[in-house]
């Protein structure tokens, strides 16, 4: 018999960005909350202190902060005709592990999705005709608008102290900011970061070409900042150890730097780490969750009863737990019926690397999200007439990830080893720069998540199976973008340059991004969505599935800003309306 704990008002499955935000808002409203985190407890002091925390081999190469596939992995295949095999080592995406989740090791690029993104399907059909989507594209509208999310984006930005410059403030466009962004009600909480030499070159060249460069909004704080919770953050040192690392300066927005000091002192919040949730329990009607069953640190089963269950794990793990718990109907690509696992999407990419003679770019200085960007080729910011694709991506020139094991670019044609390789690495390590697109990923009928029939995790539960490949929109955009990249690269006058198109097939080898989206998508219609726009599971409305698993498809941006905004929107609806009158929110 598993031990049964005292019932609580709400349980968070996973304590990262969304679990932390919900726990804070719900306890503030007087509810008792338990946070179950399957990884370790960790805090800035002592876990993230210098100098050991800036060890490229341990953190960036040996995956110190990431989910351990020996305990839980996924299987992968490109299409239903293949047999999925386990992802034995995480490489193309790196789910976080431990308190704070992937929000500890992220770079910090914090965007608001474009207004057009929220009506992607209807806008695309209205502007370019239904044929542009293609038969198998299942991208859809979000069921909410940018205006619905604006105040919640604002809350997340002020929680993290985002550094940036508004490009569209109360309807007025402002040069130097991103003029394509939706109108915001107030400036960013902190001024933009200082930008590097390569970024100044990029800014000037793009501006001369008539494009609209801007410094990207960043969760690396440009100055010391006391956030909206009264928590003091530090200022970014531009140390260049950000993505895949944690921050010893409290200068990158994360659970630890924004909310954890409050939560740890909150008597209505109880955090249990090394506690792995096995499933969400539902009552005999199947319409109401009663709580969760989890393994305690020693592996004993424990039942935690709760009136509300929040899936606040990494996006993929939210979907996995819905499937393992039998909540919602699993999606079947053969018939197009069912919903859990549908519209799994990712993040497409196209890269350019430019090589110079004798320049000093010092790319090892900088910050994870220190980037100069253009948004001219993103979303519906450009006319897609005659292009036969939808979507696009923000294009950024970033400085601050040039750690030498993983970053030592050489021109095309250089041998992969030996004296010529060594000479080229020495010559170009500090004299190269790159820019890349963070491109949208549309949903297709054949891309989905379900339970693997063969492979099991440490608990003996089926791994989640990922079936995914690029579709028409990602491929055609990348091909089209290469032409623009060629022009952009030439305008920066390098000695030589290399352009990398989107891979022919998606691969789990080689890092791309940890922007895994969909599988428990949001919408206004239970036939086409797993959750409503308040993240309530249609079939079991006291289960809320948070995070990027709710994205109907992915935009041409990093996801965290929208993940945070959606969490604040749900928190508001729950605390102001749901707790007075539990049931489906409308």
């Amino acid at each position: 018999m598993p031990k049964t704990m005292k019932p609580v008002d709400a349980v968070m499955i996973g304590v990262g960005w969304t679990g932390g935000i919900l726990a804070r808002e719900l306890t503030k409203a007087g509810l008792n909350v338990v946070g179950l985190e399957r990884g370790d407890f960790r805090n800035t002091n002592p876990d993230f202190l210098t100098p050991g925390v800036h060890d490229e081999l341990a953190y960036a190469v040996r995956n110190k902060l990431f989910q351990n596939p020996a305990r839980d992995a996924l299987s992968f295949r490109n299409n239903v005709r293949e047999t999925a095999l386990p992802i034995r080592q995480f490489s193309s995406f790196l789910p976080g592990d431990g308190l704070g989740g992937a929000g500890v090791h992220w770079n910090g690029l914090t965007w608001r999705f474009l207004e057009s993104e929220f009506k992607l399907r209807s806008n695309s059909i209205a502007k370019y005709g239904a044929a542009v989507l293609g038969e198998d594209c299942t991208s859809q509208d979000w069921g909410i608008t940018y205006a619905d999310l604006e105040p919640h984006y604002d809350r997340f930005e002020y929680l993290c102290g985002i550094s940036g410059k508004a490009g569209h403030l109360n309807g007025k466009k402002i040069a130097g900011g991103n003029v394509f962004e939706g109108s915001r009600k107030r400036e960013y909480p902190n001024p933009p970061l200082k930008h590097s030499y390569s970024q100044e070159m990029f800014r000037k060249a793009m501006s001369d070409a008539g494009l609209h460069p801007f410094i990207a909004p960043s969760a690396n704080t440009s100055q010391a900042y006391k956030n909206t919770e009264g928590v003091q953050m530090g200022a970014c040192a531009y140390c260049g150890f950000c993505e895949r690392f944690s921050c010893e300066m409290s200068a990158k927005g994360s659970l630890q730097t924004t909310l954890l000091p409050i939560l740890l002192k909150e008597p209505k919040f109880e955090l249990r780490t090394n506690s792995h949730v096995l499933k969400i329990n539902v009552d005999s009607t199947g319409k109401k969750a009663t709580g969760v069953t989890y393994l305690d640190p020693s592996g004993n089963e424990v039942v935690q009863p709760a009136d509300m269950v929040f899936l606040t794990a990494f996006s993929l793990n939210n979907v996995h737990l819905l499937l393992l718990s039998g909540i919602g109907k699993p999606y079947d690509p053969a018939t197009g019926t069912g919903i859990i696992g549908k519209n799994y999407t990712y993040q497409a990419g196209t890269q350019a690397t430019l090589f110079y003679e004798g320049k000093h770019f010092n790319q090892y200085m900088g910050a994870g999200s220190l980037s100069m960007g253009i948004d001219d080729y993103n979303g519906d910011n450009f006319d897609h007439s005659g292009l036969d694709f939808i979507g696009g991506g923000v294009i950024i020139q970033s400085t601050g990830s040039a750690r030498p094991i993983l970053y030592h670019p050489v021109p095309k044609g250089t041998p992969r080893w030996g004296a010529a390789w060594k000479a080229a690495v020495a010559k170009y390590y500090n004299s190269s720069l790159g820019f890349n697109a963070i491109a949208s990923s549309q949903a297709y009928r054949g891309n989905y998540l379900d339970l693997d029939p063969t492979y099991k995790n440490e608990q003996g539960q089926p791994l989640m199976r990922m079936t995914f490949d690029w579709g028409k929109h990602e491929r055609k955009y990348s091909d089209w973008l290469l032409g623009r990249f060629d022009t952009m690269a030439k305008s920066l006058n390098p000695q030589s340059y290399t352009l990398n198109a989107l891979s022919e097939h998606n691969s789990v080898v080689g890092y791309q991004s940890t922007h895994n989206n969909g599988g428990a998508i949001m919408g206004t219609d239970p036939a086409h969505s797993a959750v409503n726009t308040y993240m309530q599971v249609w079939d079991v409305p006291n289960v809320f599935s948070m995070g990027a698993s709710a994205f109907p498809q992915n935009a041409g941006y990093n996801p965290t800003g929208t993940v945070g905004a959606l969490a604040y929107r749900t928190a508001e609806a729950v605390t102001k309306r749901y707790i007075k009158n539990p049931g489906l929110l409308t």
Binding site: N68, P86, Q223, E248, P404, I405, W417, G418, Y455, S507
Partner: protein, 277 residues
Amino acid sequence: MSDHVSRKDFVAIIGTATAAVAVPTAAGAAAVPAPAGMAPMEMAANTAQPGGMAPLGNEPEAYTYFTEPEATFIEAAVERLIPTDDHGPGARSAGVAFFIDQQLLGAFGTAAKTYRGGPWGVGTPMQGYQLRQTPAEVYRQGIAATEAYCNKTYQSRFAELTAAQQDDVLKGLDAGTIKFDIVPAKTFFEMLLQNTVEGFFADPQYGGNRNKAGWKLIGFPGVAAYYADKITDYNKAYNVTPVSIADVQQGLPVAEGHQLMHHMAMENAKRLDEVNQ
């Protein structure tokens, strides 16, 4: 642009007014004997407190995973992948063979952070590594198969071939023109190349990158430093002696930006101690 951070700036960075930059005291460095062909590792002199941990002292390093013939093979192979030349020391002198040995004995070599469940299928390249072998086993089998190939082709061990012959063998592994039965030659080569690059550029605490040869080659300053005052020094070289994790931990003399970074992080830790009380 000033190379120094003023007290006012510093207070602004930390968000507290209690900061003062402490300069670590200098300590000497002692050399530790190393296997033949490898540069000795720099070790700090005894800076331990009375009753604290004794320094490593003069204990020699030893290969713990590789057999002696395997170590000889790896030392020769990594030196061809990153040779000693006019640009500076190569992988052998940088201790890369020792680095790989240590890695194979630990979590990497034993595939501790790898999904190990069967069945073991042959996948597409997009599905990634699917061998049943751990990296340590790939090395053991890959070295044996390469030595067998050298014996058959040249009637010689790999380490005794000329540099040009060694390169031919490595090119054959890289291109997949040399094939093995027990382990894919290409897989073995890719692992060897990847680990060689790791050992050349990783923090020296792991036994490679000796005398920071890899970092000196490319001008990487090492572990995190404070660059907020350098980031706008456009097109200006930043030349410092690279700094390792041990340098900072042991309070050895390091570049100003590194000192400042460590000091500020420690100040932040003190501040957090107060917050968390």
